[in-house]
């Protein structure tokens, strides 16, 4: 109603104003701008990784579109006649030949290829770091559980987009990668061979897989990613952004800058910064030099064949798996009524189990945590990682688990570059595969608890100044400087979960899952550092305290 009155009375004076008014009176954009422009986002450097991922994705779309103009995803045979001498006259697929042409005969083509590939690596890296930030600060808690799930789906899609793209040039490296995927598919009992033949249109490598991967890579996967990004961002707007606790920052407000003009400018500028960084890297550092690898041919395998980093952990798991354990082979030929079926656990287990564990825990974690803590409240304030030792420990444990497999994917390079035996690298990583996550859990939990104790100490007794004072009766003391209220607020204002023993339900019966929850709760929350209470603070600052004289001295020093 008010807008119609505005329309009739408001007469813009400038040309820009007239055009804006013309558009606004027809599509009503000002309401959205007014609403969205006043949206507040809190400021913290760790909040920007999601943006980095989004910008990398935009750069991927732009550079990828350029590449489609010159790339022919065909496995038809041809002989290379381009300008790269060491491959002249070599038989290869159209896909590889056009990828070489992009690199050597299309103006700016190599740069665009490198922009595309570097931003793909950055995309998945930024998604991962963003997820780690969300996890370690507890930003996935109610009401954001579903957005966490959308984020997990985005991570898997990003990996899928990366892998399908990695396979497209049809060079030796990507062909070896596809061969591994083919092996994993064929390891699926009974139906594996059929799925493989279905995917590759016959025996590997066939002539159809590159065009099929191309359709997935440039159409289906980016479209789903785009849809998921829209849902993801829509939910961010609906939920509002989380913030770290601080004076004036509560569960019911958001302290920060509005989108317009501050954030719009910052975010827009940041896009160009990310683009600039990727462009600088692409101009100076080569990535995936496909001309080195030669055309794909199932017979050669190059030393140092690895997937891109985000698939590395699955490759590493395959490398770690022994073919025999204690004299027992992990590959069996099982006679069936219709013939013999092979069960290759040596491929199936490492390919599916670690990834299954990681993804299951990742998707389910928001619900696991709220079940464990019985905390179903809304949380808009983040946890400092040290203030949630159990979650930090679980997260570090998962990161170690991932990194052990990740390291295993480069076991050969570790061996050659640090002059150690490849076999020993594999044995040690096998041990770390099981022991590493446990050590990671314990160490992270202890560090978090120790940091909490340190915070508590500082909150109660102030900062150590390093000033040593000799008292009249000869005693030496160090002067502690009390914190100002703002700093102390950050150290005392957090929640600490304590053990919740198993409780009986309405029928007075303690279920088995509830008992398990009680045990887990004891395991996770038995060691805790409680936040400083006002009473404790009062006591610490009172004159009866052992530091009383120092405190007095200190106050005198401050009041001067």
């Amino acid at each position: 109603m008010s807008s119609t009155t505005t329309q009739s009375t408001y007469q813009p004076k400038t040309n820009v104003g007239k055009i804006t008014n013309y558009v606004d009176s027809r599509v009503g954009g000002s309401g959205i701008v007014k609403e969205f422009g006043r949206k507040i986002f809190p400021d913290h450097w760790t909040f920007m990784f999601g943006e980095v991922a989004l910008y990398s994705f935009v750069i991927l779309l732009l550079s990828g579109t350029f590449l489609t103009f010159f790339f022919d995803p065909s496995m038809a045979e041809t002989h290379y006649e381009g300008s790269y001498i060491p491959l002249r006259g070599v038989e290869m697929s159209e896909a590889y030949a056009t990828a070489l042409n992009i690199s050597f005969d299309v103006r700016g083509g190599l740069f665009m290829r490198q922009v595309h590939h570097w931003s793909a690596l950055l995309f998945v890296a930024a998604v991962s770091v963003h997820m780690l930030r969300v996890f370690f600060t507890g930003a996935f808690r109610r009401p954001r559980e579903l957005n966490w799930v959308v984020g997990c789906v985005l991570l898997i899609l990003a990996m899928a987009a990366g892998f399908t793209g990695y396979s497209l040039p049809d060079d030796l490296l990507s062909g070896n990668g596809l061969r591994i995927i083919d092996g994993v598919i064929k390891a699926v009992p009974v139906v594996g061979t059929y799925i493989s033949f279905f995917l590759f249109g016959g025996e590997f490598p066939g002539t159809v897989v590159i065009p099929r991967l191309y359709v997935l890579h440039i159409l289906l996967i980016p479209a789903i990613i785009l849809l998921m990004i829209v849902i993801h961002l829509f939910m961010v707007v609906t939920h509002k952004h989380t913030q770290f606790p601080g004076p004036g920052r509560t569960n019911d407000n958001v302290v920060g800058f509005p989108v317009g003009p501050v954030y719009a400018a910052k975010a827009g500028g940041f896009f160009f910064i990310v683009f600039g960084i990727i462009a600088a890297i692409s101009a100076a550092f080569t990535i995936n030099p496909i001309w080195n690898y030669g055309p794909y041919d199932p017979s050669p395998v190059s030393a140092g064949t690895q997937p891109d980093w985000y698939i590395g952990w699955v490759d590493g798991a395959l490398r770690l798996m022994p073919g025999w354990i204690a004299g027992i082979p992990l590959e069996w030929n099982i006679p069936m009524p219709w013939g013999v079926n092979t069960l290759s656990l040596n491929v199936l287990l490492p390919a599916l189990v670690p990834a299954g564990i990681v993804f299951t825990l990742m998707f389910a974690w928001p619900w696991i945590e709220s079940w464990l803590t019985k905390d179903k409240r809304e949380h808009h304030l983040l946890d400092r990682p040290r203030n949630a030792p159990f979650r930090t420990a679980v997260g570090v444990s998962g990161v170690v688990f991932y990194c052990v497999m990740w390291a295993a994917a480069s076991s050969d390079l570790i061996a050659t570059h640090f002059f150690v035996s490849l076999n020993d690298v594999t044995y040690w990583l096998r041990v770390l595969f099981f022991v590493g996550p446990i050590i990671g859990f314990m160490v992270a939990q202890r560090i978090a608890l120790a940091l909490q104790r340190k915070d508590r100490e500082i909150a109660l007794h102030g900062r150590e100044t390093g000033r040593i004072v000799r008292l009249p009766h000869g005693e030496f003391i160090e002067v502690h400087e009390p914190l100002d209220e703002y700093k102390r607020y950050n150290l005392v204002n957090y929640e600490s979960h304590s053990v919740l023993p198993a409780e009986a339900d309405v029928n007075g019966h303690v279920t088995r899952t509830e008992k398990a929850r009680g045990r887990l709760s004891r395991f996770f929350f038995e060691d805790r550092v409680a936040p400083v209470t006002p009473a404790e603070l009062e006591a610490a600052h009172s004159h009866g305290h052992h530091d009383a004289i120092a405190e007095q001295h200190d106050k005198a020093a401050v009041s001067k």
Partner: protein, 261 residues
């Protein structure tokens, strides 16, 4: 013909057949292996004598007097001059210490001394000779064919970009950048360390030249796309984007969210 068939059950028929068979395979082998045999290379008696002195002083501790080998080193009878030229010329021999594999280091002997030792070892038994200039001439070689041969025969250990790779138990295939044509050729015909021998029946001398031409081409052209990050493939690329790429981006995020005070 009838006479032959009548004697087919003669008690000595089996022996005769065995003899014929042995002669035939032996003859074929001699014929085939002669393709691998050294081209006539002449060393003077003086070189052999000097080489023996050097050998006794520097090599015999492990390889034994007369190069017959000991428990610390293999026999060198029949390894040929090429093997000595490769091992000593690249500094691998004499070894600094026993280990999974002889390491490259600055050569201990000059060319003349190396030749003398090669002459001595060559005098002990026939083996691959040091390739002459004509065998290493890559002016009309085909690097593209060399690339194909390299990918099929060499890349599984030396990496498709010849950047090297790991083998079992601390052994490794070295990076080939900077290796001379002569040493590359000698490595193919002698199979040093853990490398298999690529005889002339396996890879023809022309293909060997092509491989050398391929290695020279990729060495000369450098990296068209910018710094090659060690030609180690996705591992160094991943490491780079996590450390350098994300590092720079984090620096910018900190800058962007810093309060101006």
């Amino acid at each position: 013909m009838k006479a032959l068939s009548q004697r087919r059950r003669h008690p000595l028929a089996a022996v005769a057949l065995l003899l014929i068979g042995l002669l035939f395979t032996g003859g074929v082998y001699a014929l085939a292996s002669s393709t691998n045999e050294a081209k006539a290379q002449t060393f003077s008696a003086d070189q052999v004598d000097e080489g023996e002195k050097l050998f006794v002083a520097n090599c015999a501790t492990c390889h034994g007097m007369g190069a017959v080998g000991s428990e610390n080193g293999p026999s060198l009878v029949g390894v040929g001059a090429a093997s000595v030229d490769f091992q000593v010329g690249t500094g691998r021999m004499p070894m600094q210490m026993q280990g999974p594999q002889a390491q490259v280091k600055p050569p201990q002997f000059d060319d003349e001394q190396t030749m003398q030792m090669a002459a001595y070892v060559a005098s002990l038994g026939a083996g691959p000779a040091i390739p002459g200039e004509d065998m290493l001439d890559t002016s009309d070689a085909d690097p593209a064919n060399g690339g194909v041969v390299f990918r099929v025969n060499c890349a599984m250990c030396h990496n498709a970009a010849a950047a090297g790779g790991a083998l079992t138990r601390g052994k490794y295939a070295p990076a080939l950048s900077g290796s001379t044509a002569k040493h590359t050729y000698e490595a193919m015909v002698t199979g040093p360390q853990n490398m298999p021998v690529f005889s002339d029946a396996n890879i023809t001398p022309e293909d060997k030249r092509d491989v050398i031409a391929f290695l020279e081409t990729i060495d000369e052209q450098g990296s068209p796309g910018g710094a090659d990050l060690g030609s180690l493939g996705p591992v160094s690329e991943g490491l780079f984007i996590w450390v350098a790429g994300l590092g720079v981006i984090i620096a910018f995020t900190v800058w962007l969210t810093a309060r101006s005070s």
